[in-house]
């Protein structure tokens, strides 16, 4: 498309909501705008390494509504960063908690969210050691935004990386997918539905510790499929590792109400965000031991073997469909909009 081409042109000058949705637009934003300026290579990992064994990760949380079935923005912000550290095989050591508060927020709500963040941190065994609070005027935020940052120390023998998947690896999912995103949607006023769904938001550091204990360096890749969902994480690992992944559609655990909500709204459950499960690529020799270790913990009880790394186009994720055919598993473009027609 040349600039004189009199055709529809997509927005390329401004940030769209979809730039934050963990899909293709987001990848483009990072690749085109952010990482070249920072001199970073593609930010494929959940957390960065500092030196040999220290791990460092940050995330901002802007979830609406702030309270939802299964959690709130405070606990979510703790779990999210704890999990990003865990995805690099790290034991979390300390967290920071930074608030951006909109003028007018009830103090009681701020207290409740802080209490929830503190409880989540305690439960994950990580202290919140420092923080910050900024207040912006009415209308300059939507109530409260939270940024957590964590430092951690890699566990012995832990080397998981999005670029670590190898041919033959077994692909695991630690629990049902789509719960968090659907719980958030169901808690929103506008969509007017109500679902028997709670967010899966929870810390996964103990689960990862158990996996590393069982599989050591054979745990090749770990990822928590948050924004962009399962499809996003699988594609990121396939791309970073240069492998082809095949997933069996019927093996992926999608809870019934999640499937119903996706059917109703025209969403793809594999694109829906999760906050309490992980995708793992494990060398076949250690897969049984890792699965057993995962299933021994409550947060891994629903672990499913969903696929494997196969011969094929590098960076591609395939699904074996219900009817026995195959399709390419796509990443989200921008925001996931309810498909109605």
């Amino acid at each position: 498309m040349t600039s004189s081409c009199p055709v529809p042109h997509p927005e390329t000058e401004r940030v769209l909501l979809g730039h934050g949705s963990g899909g293709q637009l987001m990848a483009e934003l990072l690749t085109d705008v952010i990482t070249p300026e920072l001199g970073l290579t593609a930010p494929l990992e959940d957390a960065a390494l500092i030196g040999l064994n220290q791990v460092f990760s940050t995330d901002s949380y802007v979830v609406t509504p702030r309270f939802f079935p299964g959690g709130d923005i405070g606990s979510l912000a703790v779990h999210g960063t704890v999990n990003d550290l865990a995805m690099r095989g790290a034991r979390p050591l300390a967290l920071s908690l930074a608030y951006i508060v909109e003028e007018g927020l009830p103090l009681s709500e701020l207290r409740d969210i802080t209490r929830s963040a503190a409880a989540a941190a305690r439960a994950a065994g990580v202290p919140i050691v420092t923080g910050d609070t900024k207040v912006v005027g009415r209308g300059a935020a939507d109530g409260l935004y939270v940024t957590t940052t964590g430092v951690g120390m890699r566990l012995r023998d832990a080397r998981p990386s999005a670029a670590g998947a190898e041919p033959g690896d077994v692909v695991l999912v630690s629990g049902p997918v789509g719960l968090h995103g659907i719980a958030i949607l169901s808690a929103r006023e506008g969509l007017g539905f109500d679902a028997d769904v709670s967010s899966d938001s929870r810390p996964l550091n103990d689960l990862v510790a158990a996996m590393i204990a069982a599989g050591g360096a054979d745990v090749h890749a770990l990822r928590d499929p948050t924004r962009g969902g399962l499809a996003g994480s699988l594609n990121e690992i396939a791309a970073a590792s240069g492998v082809c992944v095949e997933v069996v559609e019927s093996a992926v655990p999608v809870p019934v109400p999640v499937a119903a909500a996706c059917d109703l709204l025209g969403l793809d459950p594999w694109h829906v965000a999760n906050e309490g499960c992980l995708v793992a690529f494990v060398a076949p020799g250690s897969a049984d031991a890792v699965v057993a270790a995962m299933r021994a913990l409550p947060e891994g009880a629903g672990t499913a073997v969903v696929g494997e790394v196969v011969e094929g186009v590098a960076g591609r994720v395939l699904a074996r469909t219900l009817v026995g055919s195959s399709r390419v598993v796509d990443v989200l473009v921008g925001e996931q909009l309810p498909r109605i027609c």
Binding site: S186, G192, F193, D194, A195, D196, V197, V256, P257, A259, A260, A261, D263, L264, G266, G324, S325, S326, R339, I340, C341
Partner: protein, 81 residues
Amino acid sequence: MCLGIPGRIVTVDDTEPRSGTVDFDGLRRPVCLVYTPEAEVGDHVIVHVGFAIALVDEEEAARTLAVLRAMPDAIETELGP
């Protein structure tokens, strides 16, 4: 065309236009029932953009499924790719 899925009516409300709540296996949504005046609690309806556009005919559904289930089994290797 367009996305429409079956759900079970769990309440019929006293509103104008007629509406109620439809359950889709654990997900409930208010639905306008004005075009399915005959539908009652317990019935399944096909819901599209918030409206029930058809009452599911349970007998026809059973008949369709019976036909499908009566189909002879296939040999796996015939299928590809």
